[in-house]
């Protein structure tokens, strides 16, 4: 055991030594351009890092247990601080922080971003830090847990908090590059944000007003529809229950824009429905669908399944005996519904509303396709960065606003609703019949759901056939594979397989990004869940909040913040594949985490402790005991992160590059050009690929194989 500890120490100090002596320190550096070489050649501020590496290595060799040595803590702390300070302090063209040249006299030389050497040095120092902490009793001395916590905290800081901070500071940067509060104040009070002209009839409304109006309307409609759906499924013998449940999965695997395009095809100026209606009623076809009505339609369609699931689970959790009690007391169905069911449902309705509100604010795809001149925050942010006037300050200001709105809604949701939930989960089987629905309410629900079902059917019909007919938008319906071929043509000739189709590049990148980010997201998510559920450490609450926070940040804001943070050294990685992967990993982290926490709550902790007392370190415990028992959560996390990586657009639209384009960005380009058929065809292929990949994952992860009589608690029933 002692020898082993020594070896772990050698791994970190060895890695540190290699990263300062052998590896290229800077991004794109040559093999020989190590920290030592660069330091000697004029960037003297790198030399202390070399000294730390050498000293730490010496310490691991010279002392019996370097982990508890005072000098180790000092060296590791100093090394990390120095690495960060010089990295962020000295930019490409010299000092990047005011006053930094006092500390680094030679800073004017400037430096490129972190390369392999710098990254690995960071990892090695974090590893050594975890060792030092574990030796002092952090995480009950478990090095694996200590390393995971330190590592994840570092990663969250770097990829969630740092970009947001950078974004906020960018909001205060004037067009000429100086820092001051004035431009922020000017931007944030601008009339085109807050004007209520459209309400008073004096022109257009500000973006913030637009966004909030859209959010409220969309959330209200989606919640009402979700309630109707849930009531029909849970409280009636309605035939189509299974179909309704299936519909709820559709929005998750539907690429963005598809619904928008389908709506245009149906209701646009030359749309199928519009033309028919025009002929029948003799009205002039108009572009009415662009703007609030169109976005609203698309959003309600997309969010209703989410609200449906939230309300359904609340409805199913209501103990029927409560309603029964009311009925036996002589209440009529309507009274029972009004006095028992409805009050019990209210928290769920509020939760569903807020969820849809947040989603609506964050939605980018529908707004950009259907928005017309109806600007919302997310599209406005996009045009500030991508449009002709590249104005990061403006984008950042709007992002801060959007972030404030969503975080406020998120906060209300977790705080206020967390307390107001009355749902009774007793674990007892609830005998008793659910109260019959009042007829009036039943028919109201049917009336609400019917258009939704027809509309969904229409939209997905278009998606299904749109890619395979000449031009769906003009109702030219001769079957063709032309669109698919344009996107995915290939040739197998004497030079092997050659891919000509215009969509191949983006498809391949998308698959790469998904395939890389899904296991990473799952791994980090489950690991985080395990740390939160099973480890006690200082700052755990903040840790948990931080991981959940990344969920509340709208994709557009993430995109802008990544541009603000990772366009410049020390971490310049815009335009790479990695920034896409990292973006997805940290955006989807909370999903894997929640699935993991829920699964772990079902598992008796003493099984892990048993494994520990038998000699397993944290990693083994995870691999041998935890992971086999939470396979369903792993599967959920894997599928979710894979699918979102294939369909998300709001953040990646800022991060794609000519070299690494993603499917959704490509599709958006086609939609902008009016090539609807191609967009639809590509989307169809994308959905097909997703279905196949999810099936493969299901095979790989497999189902949980346990004994028939099992509860996963490690406790068995006492002998009878």
């Amino acid at each position: 055991m002692k020898a082993f500890e020594g070896r772990i120490g050698l791994i970190w100090s060895g890695l540190l030594l290699a990263s300062v002596l052998a590896l290229p320190w800077f991004k794109g550096g040559a093999i020989g351009a190590s920290a030592l070489a660069e330091g000697v050649a004029g960037r003297a501020w790198l030399l202390p890092l070399v000294a730390v590496a050498v000293a730490l290595t010496a310490l691991t060799f010279l002392t019996r247990n370097w982990r508890v040595h005072q000098a180790a803590a000092a060296l590791v702390g100093a090394g990390l601080a120095w690495l960060i300070l010089q990295g962020f302090g000295i930019g490409l063209r010299g000092p990047a922080l005011p006053g930094i040249e006092l500390l680094f006299p030679a800073a004017a030389a400037g430096q490129p971003g972190f390369g392999w050497g710098a990254w690995l040095a960071g990892v090695a120092l974090i590893g050594a830090l975890a060792e030092v902490l574990a030796a002092r009793g952090f995480c009950r001395g478990e090095r694996f847990a200590a390393f995971s916590i330190v590592g994840i905290v570092a990663a969250l800081t770097l990829f969630v908090f740092f970009p947001i901070l950078k974004l906020m500071s960018a909001a205060f940067i004037a067009p000429d590059g100086t820092l001051s509060a004035l431009p922020f104040l000017a931007r944030i009070t601008a009339a085109d944000l807050w004007s209520v002209g459209c309400l008073t009839g004096a022109g257009r409304c500000g973006v913030v007003i637009n966004s909030v109006v859209l959010g409220v309307l969309s959330a209200a409609f989606a919640t009402a529809l979700g309630l109707a759906l849930a009531l029909l499924v849970a409280r009636t013998d309605f035939r189509m229950k299974r179909a309704l449940r299936a519909i709820s999965i559709l929005p998750i695997i539907t690429p963005p824009f598809v619904v928008g395009v389908a709506i245009i095809v149906l209701f646009g100026r030359t749309g199928v429905v519009t033309v028919e209606v025009a002929e029948w009623f003799g009205v002039r076809p108009s572009r009415w669908v662009y703007g609030l009505p169109g976005i609203l339609m698309a959003q309600v369609l997309a969010f209703a399944p989410v609200t449906f699931l939230v309300i359904l689970s609340a409805l199913e959790a209501i103990n029927p005996t409560l309603e029964e009690a009311s009925t036996t007391l002589g209440a009529r169905p309507v009274t029972t519904f009004r006095t028992v069911t409805w009050p019990l449902l209210r928290p769920a309705l509020a939760a569903a509303f807020l969820l849809a509100f947040i989603e609506s604010l964050a939605d980018f795809g529908n707004a950009i396709v259907l928005g017309g001149s109806y600007d919302v925050l997310s599209t406005k942010i996009f045009f500030a960065v991508v449009g002709a006037q590249y104005d990061l300050g403006q984008a950042a200001t709007l992002s801060v606003l959007l972030l404030a709105l969503t975080v406020a809604a998120f906060w209300v949701q977790t705080r206020w609703l967390g307390r107001a939930s009355y749902v009774t989960v007793t674990g007892k089987s609830d005998a008793g019949l659910v109260a019959p629905m009042p007829l009036l309410i039943k028919w109201a629900a049917v009336a609400a759901v019917l258009p939704f079902v027809i509309f969904t059917a229409g939209v997905y019909m278009i998606v299904l056939i749109g890619g395979f007919v000449t031009d769906i938008a003009r109702l030219e319906m001769s079957p063709t594979f032309g669109h698919i071929w344009t996107a995915f043509s290939f040739e197998v000739g004497d030079r092997g397989l050659q891919l000509f189709g215009s969509a191949w590049d983006s498809m391949i990148t998308t698959l790469w990004v998904s395939a890389l980010s899904a296991p990473l997201t799952m791994g980090i998510g489950i690991l985080t869940a395990w740390l939160i559920a099973r480890q006690d450490f200082a700052g755990k609450r903040a840790f948990e909040f931080g991981t959940l926070l990344s969920f509340a940040i709208p994709g557009t804001v993430v995109g802008v913040s990544y541009i603000a943070a990772f366009n410049v050294p020390p971490i310049d990685m815009t335009g790479t594949l990695w920034i896409l992967v990292i973006c997805f990993v940290f955006r989807n982290l909370p999903v894997g985490m929640r699935a993991g926490i829920a699964a772990l709550a079902q598992i008796d902790r003493s099984m892990e402790e048993a494994s520990q007392t038998m000699g397993a370190g944290g990693g083994r415990v995870l691999a041998d005991v935890v992971l086999p028992l939470i396979r369903p959560a792993i599967f959920t996390a894997l599928v979710y992160s894979f699918v979102t990586a294939m369909t998300a657009v709001s953040a990646v639209i800022f991060l794609v590059s000519a070299r690494h384009n993603m499917a959704t960005a490509y599709i958006m380009g086609r939609v902008e050009n009016g090539e609807y058929a191609l967009a639809i065809a590509y989307s169809t292929v994308l959905m097909l690929v997703m279905v196949v990949c999810v099936a493969l994952m299901n095979l790989a992860v497999g189902r949980r194989k346990l004994g028939r009589r099992t509860a996963v608690t490690g406790t068995a029933q006492p002998a009878q």
Partner: protein
């Protein structure tokens, strides 16, 4: 004396402000079965987990086999633990469960399995190796848990209320089995329970804990017959507590005097119900007489106060309302305060 198998040196474990263990000094000898006994929340489980390494002490040291392991994680110690819920791995067969420890510590698979088979045989589970834990009865699962804990010849084996999931009728049998195994393998064992009868039955020595501290350490007989404090006297078995004064070696209370060595001043004596004899006629009176099958229990109103008396069933029975005289021998009392 040889070096203790386990030693606590001024061990403190705090959670936030509250001390679960508030300063413990204790040595457990090799081959001994030591029981931690005490009311709920007194820190028994915490002390056990401190030995296992599942918690690390806030202050003080824990030594196992003479080595300071205070900062070693559980995986770096050589202890076996039997959990209250057994904590068998539901996705592994009985054999894999038992072979898990040796395999983790680097024993080749075939050898680990052979060793596991051997132990399973010794605990009487031969033939059940291929089953999943969910396919065993509660008692069998318990034996698997014990087999799994001892397969690696640990420095110490820890039991956290191992009988709480066992059917009441089976308890005595399982507890005998545990004791027999512990003797046969000459294991040092630490056993946690809040059942005093169980503690008296299995232990070589018992540590009685109270609010994170040790109240008394001793053999079952010492604790029962010579409790050091009123708390211990009434926690283990039933006790009559008599308050009075000691003057020049004589204890006086209303209606009684006894020779009790020790310091002069106010004193409390403890006397077990079965140590009191009753004779018909006298100043005291039987208030209730309860037939308990194996014995009679009387509540007697005496001059010193109400006394609980327990008499063998074959003695002449007394009835409620009868006048009696109550006799206490000086050798049967212990001074608890």
């Amino acid at each position: 004396m040889t070096e203790p198998a386990i030693e606590f040196r001024s061990v403190v474990k705090r959670y936030g402000d509250a001390s679960a263990v508030a300063g413990i000094d204790l040595a457990i000898a090799k081959g001994e079965l030591m029981t931690f006994l005490g009311p709920s929340g007194c820190g028994k489980t915490t002390s056990l987990r401190l030995i296992a390494g599942l918690e690390l002490p806030t202050e003080g040291q824990v030594l196992i086999a003479g080595r300071d392991v205070s900062r070693d994680p559980a995986s770096a110690r050589n202890v076996g633990m039997v959990f209250q819920s057994y904590a068998l791995f539901p996705h592994m067969s009985v054999l894999d469960n038992v072979a898990y420890g040796p395999a983790i510590r680097g024993t080749p698979k075939a050898q680990a399995q052979a060793r596991a088979r051997e132990i399973l045989d010794q605990v009487g589970l031969a033939g059940l190796e291929a089953r999943l834990p969910s396919e065993l009865s509660g008692g069998q699962q318990q034996r698997v848990a014990v087999a799994r804990a001892i397969v690696q010849q640990p420095d110490v084996i820890l039991f956290d209320e191992p009988l709480s999931n066992v059917d009441a009728k089976l308890r005595r049998k399982v507890r005998e089995e545990i004791r027999a195994l512990q003797r046969r393998f000459d294991l040092t064992a630490v056993y946690v329970t809040h059942d005093q009868e169980e503690a008296l039955a299995v232990s070589d020595r018992i540590v009685v804990m109270d609010r994170g501290r040790i109240a008394q350490v001793g053999t079952p007989a010492e604790l029962y017959e010579r409790p050091a404090t009123p708390f211990i006297a009434s926690f283990i078995g039933d006790a009559n507590l008599i308050e009075g004064q000691v003057v020049e070696g004589r204890f006086t209370a209303p209606g009684m005097t006894l020779d009790v060595p020790g310091q002069d001043g106010p004193a409390t004596l403890s006397i077990r119900p079965e140590r009191i004899t009753l004779a018909p006629g006298g100043p005291d009176r039987v208030m209730t007489a309860t037939y308990l099958g194996s014995r009679m229990e009387y509540l007697v109103a005496a001059q010193v106060g109400e006394m609980l008396v327990s008499r063998p069933i074959f003695e002449p029975r007394l009835a409620a309302g009868q006048d009696v005289s109550l006799h206490i021998a000086a050798t049967d009392v212990s001074r608890v305060a």
